[in-house]
Symmetry: C2
Subunit: 232 residues, 2 copies
């Protein structure tokens, strides 16, 4: 029964996939703003209006590219972190960090779509939020594991979170259950440090100033793990 019906759906799914593939390639060469439906259609030998049978608007195409990007990044981070010994929490942290950086460096425009300035006029729909937490969820679980294993030993003299921040960690603690506030804040700080570094590198802030970025990043992420107290 579905054989005949699938005939149509199969070619539709195939064309949809071809559109996103071409769009992703176009994204890689032209950047987010240079993504043109007409150019995609031209490359497919279609007329531009036909694209709208598959994606009702340019923003919808962008949305699926964004979701795909979050999933690709999240998967890369998950895989890299999963390959580490469970007890080596610092190693897991570094592996996750390097996975983020490696993916971002090799997919700069897609990374810009996820973590750069929001595309003007584009509002990310709710569909994206499920995929967007995959990478940070990895970080959260590794911190949570480290805490449970007693491997979180922050240095002395670390400032304590002020009382004004009481209860502010609720949204983040879901990703690292059982972890006390000061460690949650340290994890957030490490998180922003990681993406701040990667964004600087991808967006060209280190041009002409840093040579061996990989080594510098590695050291920076080891420093970022210090307030977190991730001893090896």
């Amino acid at each position: 029964m579905t054989a005949s019906r699938t005939a149509r759906e199969r070619v539709r799914a195939e064309l949809t996939r071809e559109i996103t593939d071409i769009a992703r390639r176009q994204l890689a060469t032209e950047g987010a703003g240079g993504l043109s439906l007409r150019a995609v259609a031209r490359e497919m030998g279609m007329v531009s209006s036909a694209i709208y049978r598959y994606f009702p608007s340019r923003d919808d195409l962008l949305t699926t590219l964004i979701i795909d990007g979050y999933n690709a990044l999240g998967e890369a981070v998950e895989r890299a972190e999963a390959a580490c010994p469970r007890a080596d929490h610092l190693g897991r942290w570094l592996a996750a960090c390097h996975a983020v950086r490696d993916w971002a460096v090799s997919h700069p425009h897609e990374y810009a779509l996820l973590y750069g300035s929001p595309v003007p006029g584009y509002q990310a729909p709710q569909d994206t939020i499920a995929a967007r937490v995959r990478d940070v969820a990895v970080l959260g679980s590794l911190v949570s594991d480290a805490w449970r294993a007693g491997a979180v030993r922050p240095p002395a003299g670390l400032p304590a979170p002020p009382t004004a921040l009481e209860g502010e960690t609720a949204a983040f603690r879901e990703l690292m259950p059982g972890v006390p506030d000061e460690t949650v804040w340290a994890a957030i700080s490490g998180w922003t440090n990681l993406y701040g570094w990667v964004s600087f590198e991808v967006f060209g802030q280190f041009d002409n100033t840093l040579g061996d970025r990989r080594a510098a990043f590695d050291h920076a992420m080891r420093l970022a793990a210090v307030p977190l107290g991730l001893a090896e």
Copy 2:
């Protein structure tokens, strides 16, 4: 002599300024990609081609907006930091951080222009690099002062920079002369942490997760000062 010659130049300077003002306002409402020369011309009661007498291309207009942005941000940071007692290095660090954040939050689109994903097809000319270091120069001099005052006391157990990074700090040390490598790296880490946090907040990564962002930011920047060893 210049009275007559200035007649034209004065109206030219005035119109140029009016164009950038309108463009900046348009930037604030529409975002970088929505900046339209025709819309600016329309708002000025000019015909679109007349704008090209003042800015040879859209990118040139963007460039002056970027330079103005760097200068505005740099000035805000300079002023905030200069208002602190010279010996209070942690206070100077926090003041500079808050100045960056305050400016970014109140000028989100301009901040996106400076520290977000690069505008597709736009290549920042050399003119911008002079203005772009003003903010980070403040951070550098503050760290340099702290070092000279003996106020840099990093916690024990801080990882030392690997030998692979020997000499990589040259470009940064110009901003903080006399500072040893490990402190330079800690400063870079604080720098990326600062802008990572601000970018996350401005670009909406904290939406629905953080309430009191100012307090959270303050605590994050205190944490970021720990590997740097900025005791008060």
